[in-house]
Amino acid sequence: MKKILFLLIPVFLLASCTIHKPLYSWNKYDIASYNYIKNNDEKSTQELIKNYEAIISKQNGTRKVIPPGIYADYGFVLLQSGKTEEGNAMLEKEIALYPESKIFIARIIKMQKK
């Protein structure tokens, strides 16, 4: 019995060492978005889209929610490649998830529908 207690102590000590987890997980967002800004070609666009999809399909952060701006920027990239309907649907998702984005995003959607 005592042995178990001794075993438990280091477990507790180690548990308290865990670094606190961020709110969101971003996959390889920094590199993908840098390449997209810099090259703005088909390859970097596809890489960025893949990254957005990875962020949306799996969240390891503590909030378990898609991070701010992801749906909207994904929508923007889709709009840029002529996918108006899918792009606007993503923009709508941003508003639904983050109502504070409405002022800005609703205007963008309106611009598309003109």
Partner: protein
């Protein structure tokens, strides 16, 4: 008489050495942040005063992550950049000292982030960056948060092991291609600096936070890729 002089000089020296600023509590250093409780941030295109032409891009792509992770709503960076470009507002320098209410109206931003890259010098295994971050209110135009850091980033990866370790370290340095390496530098500058930013509305509430100490307003730090 001579002794009095010595005494005077001595006290002056002691007092001078005391004037190095004592750390401030966040509630004092960032009072405006607690008063206004901003939730939504607009990222302005970084202002590049360094000689490195790409520094602007390194920073642009790395600002959203630390700010969102601190609990803020960050206005979608690509979409907002596009609109800023269309509205001829891409040069953030123009707005550094002007009223910001328009950014509140168009983007719904409570605060605007200006990033000024003062220096970006690289040598074989070092990148020396000097960067300033300024968060200004779109309601009052007041600076709510500002820090300026000189960050010396060591790009060589150190692995403490014999023969093979050294070889691995060499290979890693070679693999760290220029572009991605520099994105990493910018990312670490942002993460280090914003560590003391009061948290936004999506962060779990921490009632003790205002009593924590703010980081130095102007700082110098040595970092490497191990920093997270």
């Amino acid at each position: 008489m001579k002794n009095t002089y010595y005494l005077l000089i001595l006290t002056t020296i002691i007092f001078t050495s005391c004037s190095t600023t004592a750390p401030l509590k966040k509630s004092v250093a960032y009072k405006g942040m607690y008063d206004e409780k901003p939730t939504t941030i607009l990222l302005m295109p970084p202002i590049n005063r360094s000689t490195n032409v790409e520094a602007k891009e390194y920073f642009h792509s790395t600002l959203i992550v630390p700010l969102a992770n601190q609990g803020y709503y960050v206005i979608p960076p690509f979409l907002s950049m596009e609109i800023l470009k269309r509205e001829s507002a891409y040069d953030a320098e123009l707005f550094l000292n002007s009223t910001l209410s328009k950014f509140g109206e168009v983007f719904g931003a409570d605060i605007v982030l200006f990033t000024i890259i003062h220096k970006w010098d690289k040598s074989y295994s070092m990148v020396k960056v000097e960067v300033e971050y300024i968060l200004k209110s779109t309601k009052t135009n007041e600076v709510l948060y500002s820090r300026r850091g000189a960050i010396n980033y060591n790009t060589s990866v150190s692995i403490n092991a014999g023969g093979f370790g050294a070889l691995a370290a060499f290979a890693l340095t070679a693999v760290n291609t220029i572009g991605t390496k520099h994105v990493d530098v910018a990312k670490i500058c942002n993460t280090y600096t914003f560590k003391d930013l009061p948290v936004g509305k999506y962060s779990p509430i921490n009632t003790l936070e205002p009593d924590e100490f703010a980081g130095k307003k102007v700082f110098t730090v040595n970092l490497n890729s191990q920093y997270r």
